[in-house]
Structure formats: C-alpha cells, structure tokens
C-alpha cells in the first residue's frame, strides 16, 4: 500500500510542477508573437476592450496612509486611458528576499509588473532563472512607446541578457546613493575642521573631539550590520585606492584596478599595505572608544540616536542625507548643520549610479504583459498619473510652486498621501522638488561630486557565477566572518588578523574567482 501511495503522490506532485512549467513556457513564447501581430496595427489599434487588473509587485510595508484612496483615483484615470487598473502587491521588508524570490519562483499569473534592481534585488539571477519575460523591441515600441523613446539605445544594451532585454531601466532619474558619513557641522567647527570633514583623517579628528568634549555622546554609535561593515570596508578602499567596485558578484570583494584600467581585478584583499592600514586605524579608533565596546551586537538605532543628540555620526548615502537626516536634524538639533563626508572624495574616486539600480521587469507568467507595459508607460511618462502615483492628489496632498512640491501644514507621510514605492521608473522630466528636503545643501555638493564621478564601467557585463559559485559562497562566509572584526578593530593584532583573512581567502579559491571575473570581463570588453 505504501508503495502505491508514494507513486500516487509523486505523480500528483509531478503534475503540479509540470503544469506550471509548461504554462510558463507558453506565455513566454506567446507574448512576443502576439505583439508581432498587433504591432502592425500601431498603438492606436491596440485592443483594450477587456478590463484587466495589473498587479505591480514592489518591496515595502503596507502603508497606513491614504494610498487606497489615491489608488482609486489613479485607477479611474488608468481605466479611462488603457482600460486597466493597478493593484500593488507589497513584499514587506520582513524577510523580503525570501518572499520576493519565492513569489517569482512560483508564479501563477498573479503578478505582472515586478520592481527589481541589479544590485540589491537579484535582477540578473532572476532573469537567468526565467522569472522575467524577455521584452522584444517591437513589444516595447508598441506598448511602451514613450519609455522606449526615452531610453537611449546604449542603455537598452545594458538591460540585455543573452541578447534579450529583460529590464526597463530607471535611467532618467538623478540620485546619489554613494555612501559616506553624516556628521555634525557644529561639532566639526568646534573641533577646528573649518571646511567640514572630507577625509578619514578629518573624521578621526572629529570623533576624537567628540570623545574628549562630549562624554554623553558616542562619537559614532554604530551598529555592526552587514551593510555597514561592507560600506566601511569599501569606503576605505575607495578613499585610499583608485579601485572601483564591481557589482553582481555577491560580496564586495572584487574591484577593478582603476578607471583607467578597469578590467584588471585589484588584489587589494590579497596584498598591499592599505588593508592592513585600515585594520590598524580601526583598531586605534576602537581603542579610543569611538564606538561602543559591544558594537558588534549593538541594538541601538544609530540614526535615532543621532536625532537625539546621542551619536555624533551616522553612515549612509547622499540621498538619505539631504532628504531625511539633514532636514530632520535641523528640526531636532537646531544648528547641528549636518554635513556629508563622501567615501572616495579625498582622492576623487566616485562612480555614478548604475542605471539598473532600479528597473521594472515583466513577470514571465504575466497574463497581460502588453497591458502591463502600457500601464508602466503611463506611470512613468504621463504627468497626471506620474504625480498621482508619486505624490498623491494635487490640492489635497500637495501643491506646486514652480518646481517645488509643497506639503500642507502638518502633513505626515506615514498618515497621508500615497506610498507607491515606485523606484523603478522615476522620471526627472516630471519630478518635483519636495520642499522639505535640504536642496541648498544638495545643490552645493552634488556639482562637486558630479565633477569627480565617472560612469559605472561594468554595465554591460552580466556575470555567469556558475563556475565559481562554490568559491563565492565560501568567500562570502569568510568575508562576513573576518570583516566585522577588521572594521570595528576587535582583533588584538590587526596585521596578523589581516594576514589570516588573506590566507583564508586564498584557500577559498579567491584567486581562481579573480581570474574568472577577469576573463569574463575580457570576453565582454576585450583585453
């Protein structure tokens, strides 16, 4: 009986999986052919007689504000224009990686538009795994004509895998997400750093001043999150070497040598004095008490501590600084005059953002890929829809003054307005400047950064990690074991500890991985 049963079960299971397998392939092949036949008719001839719901999947927590009300309004307009409505499918931040990938792995047509990113949301692995629909140029031209026209051909090239477009890039939106330290201008001046903190030596002086003069303030009440550890390590690298981070290789241990020699992989982690130097400096900082003794397990929220005047610094990117921390600190710690120290600025090593940092994809089993594209085209390019979706209702949630967006008095984004988390197609031609951001500061620094910045040099390569996946796993593990200790100066003998780290990397096949990365770079860019 047991045997028959197990056979029965296996068949049931087989059917359930086989069924979804074939369905996927069908839709993948159907969609382009459908587009081919209708493209002849042109955009005007598109059949939208059937009302459809387009499900848009994004990361973010379900909002408690007026999103539903604004969406109702938005859907009225969408129905009018393309006979479709939009439903947001939230992947909540809690375990978002698991849920995001599970949802893509078990598609059943309940998702159409997928917000994705090549650096923080596995856009390429998911394209390789068959989660996204390949988008033919006809398809894009027909159903997302404005977007297609807006994205330059060379940018479409950066969205291709195996010759097919999988992602629609957010390439007309300027943002600075380079990391660095937010520090208090008032303390810096008191410390005698008149022009603000612009290198690691200034930062040390700044921290030491706080340590000496403000016993109740932790110079940097850091929390050893994986991301903070990585940013610190990379930040030192960028500030002290001309290295450039190569994305898409799981852990930030692969750097191109320099902007002039980008396709040689740096051996920063294997040899040279800079890493040792870093470890020794951080050991000094730790011993000086710039962070808490138990920093590796610290549970304090650094930013909140900074708002409360209990931490002298916080580490994040430029955007966070001018949009959030600076305005908030002006309110909570008047006169704090929070400035930004950008990693890499001391030796002009700044890379501008990769255009697939935010991108939209179509789910491979979407039932309405054409209409999904039409909706996306409007969300990105139609002024009325764009502003509804980004800011809420004009007159209720905001008013416009020139290119400034003004919120009504007492407006709280958590309670009012809309949260659409549409980070996959923002458009500078339609953007408004939110009046509560620190634009003066932004306008002061970003031209300087822009001057230094060079474009991300590896946009065209999508690495095949298969040949080195085991090595990468082990490297990832070694990095996350050793790096927190190095970054927060917790080893007794930093030089010896760095050597141990380097030996472990070598044993894990790091050199093999470097060679593989170099050869894949060479095959794309020539040697």
């Amino acid at each position: 009986m047991k045997k028959t049963l197990s056979i029965l079960l296996a068949t049931v299971f087989a059917f359930s999986l086989a069924a979804c397998g074939t369905r996927g392939e069908q839709s993948a092949t159907q969609a382009p052919s459908a587009s081919a036949s209708s493209s002849a008719a042109g955009p005007e001839g598109i059949d939208t007689s059937q009302h459809v719901v387009i499900n848009y999947m994004t990361t973010g927590d379900i909002p408690n504000n007026d999103t539903d009300a604004v969406m109702a309004e938005l859907n009225k307009v969408l129905t009018e224009k393309v006979n479709a409505e939009l439903n947001i499918r939230w992947i909540e931040w809690t375990d978002y990686m698991t849920n995001y990938n599970l949802t893509l792995a078990s598609q059943d047509g309940s998702v159409d538009l997928v917000g994705t990113a090549s650096d923080w949301l596995d856009a390429w692995p998911n394209s390789q795994n068959g989660a996204f629909l390949p988008l033919s140029e006809e398809l894009l031209k027909t159903y997302a004509p404005q977007t297609y026209a807006q994205v330059p051909a060379e940018n479409w090239e950066l969205c291709k895998f195996n010759g097919q477009i999988y992602l629609i890039p957010e390439d007309n939106y300027a943002q600075w997400i380079n990391h660095g330290f937010m520090y208090r201008g008032d303390y810096a001046r008191e410390a005698g750093i008149a022009n603000g903190v612009h290198n690691w030596a200034d930062l040390e002086k700044y921290f030491q001043y706080i340590k000496d003069s403000y016993p109740d303030v932790v110079p940097w009440d850091a929390k050893a999150d994986a991301s903070i550890v990585t940013q610190m390590s990379t930040g030192w690298n960028h500030s002290k070497t001309p290295n450039i981070t190569i994305d898409g290789l799981r852990q930030e241990v692969f750097f191109g040598e320099s902007k002039d020699n980008p396709y040689t992989v740096s051996r920063y982690f294997l040899e040279g004095a800079e890493l040792v130097n870093f470890a020794q400096t951080m050991k000094k900082w730790n011993d000086a008490g710039f962070w808490r003794e138990d920093v590796l397990n610290n549970t304090v929220d650094t930013r909140e501590a900074m708002y409360a005047g209990q931490s002298g610094a916080d580490q994040h990117h430029v955007s966070t600084w001018y949009s959030t921390v600076r305005p908030e600190m002006d309110k909570k710690q008047p006169g704090s005059d929070v400035g930004f120290f950008l990693f890499g600025e001391e030796n002009s090593n700044v890379i501008s953002i990769n255009i697939t940092h935010g991108a939209m994809a179509i789910a491979s089993k979407s039932k309405n890929p054409e209409r999904a594209l039409m909706v996306y085209d409007l969300l990105r390019n139609d002024p009325e829809i764009y502003r509804l979706f980004q800011y809420g209702r004009e007159g209720v949630d905001y008013t416009v003054d020139g290119n400034m967006l003004l919120r009504p008095d007492g407006f709280d984004n958590a309670l009012q307005g809309i949260s659409s988390n549409f980070w996959w197609g923002r458009n500078d031609s339609l953007e408004l400047r939110q009046s509560n951001f620190a634009w003066d500061e932004y306008d002061k620094v970003t031209p300087i950064y822009a001057e230094m910045a060079v474009p991300y040099p590896y946009g065209q390569v999508i690495f095949d990690l298969e040949p080195i996946s085991t090595e990468l796993d082990t490297i990832s593990n070694i990095y996350s074991t050793y790096m927190p200790i190095i970054v927060f100066g917790k080893s007794a003998d930093p030089a010896a500890y760095v050597q141990e780290f380097r030996d472990a990397l070598k044993n894990a096949g790091y050199e093999k991985a470097i060679n593989e990365v170099e050869s894949q770079l060479a095959s794309v860019y020539g040697s």
Binding site: K2, V12, F13, F15, S16, L17, A19, C20, T59, G60, D61, I62, N64, N87, I88, R89, W90, I91, E92, W93, T94, D95, Y96, T98, N99, L102, T103, A105, S106, D108, S110, A117, D119, W120, Q175, I177, H179, D216, K223, D225, A226, S227, V300, D301, R303, E304, A305, A308, Q310, H317, S319, T320, S323, T324, H357, G358, N413, A414, L415, N421
Partner: protein
C-alpha cells in the same frame, strides 16, 4: 492536589523547602525580563537608548502604544483572526490527534506500527521551503487563504505520539468492557476514553493552541499584502524586523520613516501579543487535575 498529612518526615520538609526556593527563583527569572519589557514599553525612546532597560518606566510615555492603536482596525482584526484560527484549529486538530492517538495505542490494532512509522517519518524528512511553497500555492491554491495557516498547524507527529502515550495509561479493560456492552470502537473512544483523558487533552490542546497563537511563519509566506488582516504574532514579527530590515539593506532607495520609536515599539507589541496568554493559561490549568484518568476503573 490534596495531600494526606500522614507520613511527612524531614526529607519531605527539605524537598518542600527546595521546591519553594527553586520555584520562586525560576519564576523571578522569568518575570523580571517581562517586567523589563513592560516597563520599557512605557518608557521614552531616548531614555532607553541612554540607560538601557529599567525595571520601572524611565521617562513615562505611552507613545508607542498610541502609535499601534492609531490604526486600531488592524490590531482588532489581527486579534480576531488569531483567536478564530486558534479556536477552530485547536478543536479540529485535537479531535483528530486524540482519535488517532487512541487507535494507534490499541494493542489489537494490526496496522498501528505501519501507520505510526508513516506518520513519524514525515517529521524526519521535510521537503524544504520551495517544494512546500509551490505545492501549497500551485497545487492547493492556498495563497492568500487562511487555510494555509489553519491546515499545516492542525497536528504534528509529536502530538500524535504524545497522545498515543497518554492513551496507554487508560487500562485496556475499559475498551474491553465497552466491547462487551456492544459499543463500536468510535463509541468507545468518544464515550469512555475521552472523559478519562482530560489532562492529556488539555495538554495537547494547549500545544496546538500555542502553535496557532505563536504562528508567524506561514503567514509571512502565504498571506500576501492582498489579505487585510494577518495574525497577531505576524504583525509583531513585522514590527520587530522591519525597522532593522529597512536600515540594513535598501542601499539605494530613499525611504523616509518618521519618528519610529524602534525599541519601545517592539516592547509594546510584545506586551500586546503576549498579554492575552496570561489571561488564558489559568483557564487551561483548571483541567490539569490528577486522578480523573484512572479513578473510574479502580473502584
């Protein structure tokens, strides 16, 4: 438990002393952290960051509670969902577990070992996340359905074995006497066995109920944002994890969070999610009464 006064000697008193001492220390060890949680849920965020946890609220504040209660609909909905799931799941699960446990301990039941192995084996090998997820969503179509939480938690092999073990303590003569009276196996179970197993049923019911009450995992997998009300512990789990997740990973996006009192909010949510258990537990304790099981036959 009533104790006869006879036979108390020195060792009894020593044991008694030790028991009270250990019991009190254990209870204190459990209650103090809870007081810390309670006190910090009523403290201001700044104070917590400055001084850590205190046994008495530092800088009394109800801000985090007001933040949670700002959208009472969610909270009330979460309570209702959790309570309904717990009640229905416990009733159905307990019935099946008790029935199976009784059948499997019957020495005269020839298939009992095979069935037991079949059940037990499932606890050793699990298919893993993806196959389970795919089967649940694509074969059973349980995405966004409360059944996706209700069903998996109904029972587990451990509870069935436990029940089987408890049922063994019921003398076989009871089953025999039932048979002589001409009752069928099911009637014997419902009329004769169930009444004698109150403590066992209370125990197992409690385990099932706790499983439902503490559940967040299946909710996080199967209840997408299309579902308006999610179970209580899942809400708690979200609050506790989302702030960290936000800071942690969204390297590049502008996410504005206004004034979330991270620590105190976590504590307040914990208080709201655990509180009802304190009220519920004594109610179950009532059924942990000795002697019900065997008294009936031996007379």
């Amino acid at each position: 438990m009533k104790k006869n006064k006879i036979g108390l000697d020195r060792t009894d008193f020593i044991i008694r002393g030790v028991t009270y001492a250990i019991g009190s220390i254990g209870a204190l060890a459990c209650v103090i952290p809870f007081l810390l949680i309670l006190a910090s849920s009523f403290s201001s965020e700044d104070a917590i960051r400055r001084t850590g946890f205190t046994i008495w609220p530092a800088d009394f504040s109800t801000y985090s509670y007001s933040l949670i209660l700002r959208t009472p609909k969610q909270l009330v909905g979460a309570y209702i969902v959790t309570i309904l799931l717990t009640l229905i799941g416990t009733a159905v699960g307990l019935f099946i577990v008790a029935m199976t446990g009784y059948a499997l301990q019957r020495a005269d039941f020839p298939f009992r070992n095979a069935i037991m192995f079949f059940i037990y084996f499932s606890s050793l090998f699990s298919a893993g996340l993806v196959p389970f997820y795919i089967v649940m969503t694509q074969a059973y179509h349980l995405r966004d359905s409360y059944l996706a939480i209700l069903i998996p938690l109904l029972m587990n092999p451990w509870l069935i074995v436990l029940m089987k073990n408890f049922a063994k303590s019921v003398p076989h003569e009871i089953t025999e006497s039932g048979k002589i009276d001409g009752a069928g196996d099911f009637a014997i179970f419902t009329r004769l066995i169930v009444p004698m197993l109150t403590p066992a049923l209370a125990t197992i019911g409690l385990f099932i109920a706790i499983g439902y009450w503490n559940e967040w995992y299946y909710s996080s997998l199967f209840l997408t944002s299309n579902v308006e009300y999610r179970p209580l512990q899942y809400q708690l789990y979200r609050v506790i994890n989302q702030i960290a997740a936000l800071r942690n990973t969204v390297a590049g996006s502008v996410v504005t969070i206004t004034n979330i009192p991270a620590e105190t909010l976590k504590m307040a949510t914990a208080v709201l999610a655990t509180g009802p258990i304190i009220l519920f537990y004594p109610f179950v304790q009532k059924y942990f009464v000795a002697g019900v099981t065997v008294g009936a036959v031996k007379g």
